[in-house]
Symmetry: C2
Subunit: 75 residues, 2 copies
């Protein structure tokens, strides 16, 4: 299973400010790749783990939180 | 810089038999991704290092060898 971020949702002005780190992370990866499809970004399992550490949650917890916000889909 | 493999060259019947592990590695990655573009495969820096260990060479040495065979390009 892969973790796919919705870039359009992540770039909305009304994004929960606590989720700004996720938005910054996605943007950094886009730049590193030169990936400007602008709609979705699938990231590594290790990235989810790194982000969870940053949020002080379990990876599964962070997945649920981001799914609730419509930011993430597991595919 | 990224390491890009020429899948067409890798799948040729007259490929140097010693390079079969490279061909198998590329095929495995293609399956894991579901990436069937069939022409190029860009792999991770860590993959080049893993392959060099398997060949008992330095990464730079393996790059030169595969470049000479037209199998690899650094982009
Ligand atoms: N489909 C697919 N292709 C893969 C995968 N892993 C590596 N590649 C391919 O191999 C290239 C080099 O990967 P890298 O050395 O890890 O070098 C990568 C890596 O250091 C970083 N990066 C890119 N995407 C991610 C990501 O989602 N997470 C993390 N942590 N780093 C990433 O940016 C560098 C350049 O990325 P790219 O331009 O995309 O270039 C990537 C990409 O073409 C994979 O799991 N799936
Ligand atoms: N630009 C972009 N698109 C995304 C991303 N995540 C999902 N997609 C879209 O969803 C499909 C599955 O992507 P994937 O899991 O990365 O699986 C991809 C990936 O593993 C690989 N792939 C395709 N294009 C490239 C590429 O330019 N470079 C590398 N390194 N891998 C690629 O082939 C698989 C199938 O690709 P597609 O049939 O084109 O179809 C892709 C693409 O349309 C993303 O982070 N960036
Ligand atoms: N060593 C190695 N393993 C590879 C490579 N390509 C794919 N894999 C393995 O296959 C899994 C699925 O790859 P994907 O369908 O491209 O799905 C990938 C792809 O859509 C995206 N991704 C990850 N790293 C990169 C990257 O460096 N560049 C790009 N463009 N996309 C990446 O994130 C998804 C999940 O990545 P992972 O959780 O790491 O899970 C990856 C990884 O375990 C490779 O070149 N080298
Ligand atoms: N995870 C994921 N990332 C994607 C996908 N499509 C594009 N990307 C990302 O967006 C960058 C530009 O893709 P592009 O314009 O389609 O142009 C690509 C593509 O046409 C081709 N290419 C190079 N390596 C690969 C490969 O391993 N697989 C595929 N399918 N195409 C590749 O060369 C260009 C540069 O490739 P990259 O260095 O990999 O850099 C890719 C990759 O980082 C996707 O479906 N999933």
């Amino acid at each position: 299973s892969k973790v796919m971020l919705d870039l359009r949702k992540l770039s909305r002005a009304d994004l929960d400010p606590e989720l700004a780190p996720v938005s910054r992370f996605a943007h950094t990866i886009q730049l590193q790749r030169g990936d400007f499809n602008g709609n979705v970004l699938t990231i590594r399992g290790e990235d989810l783990r790194a982000m969870s550490v940053m949020f002080g949650t379990e990876p599964s917890e962070l997945v649920v939180r981001l799914e609730d916000q419509g930011i993430l889909a597991q595919v």
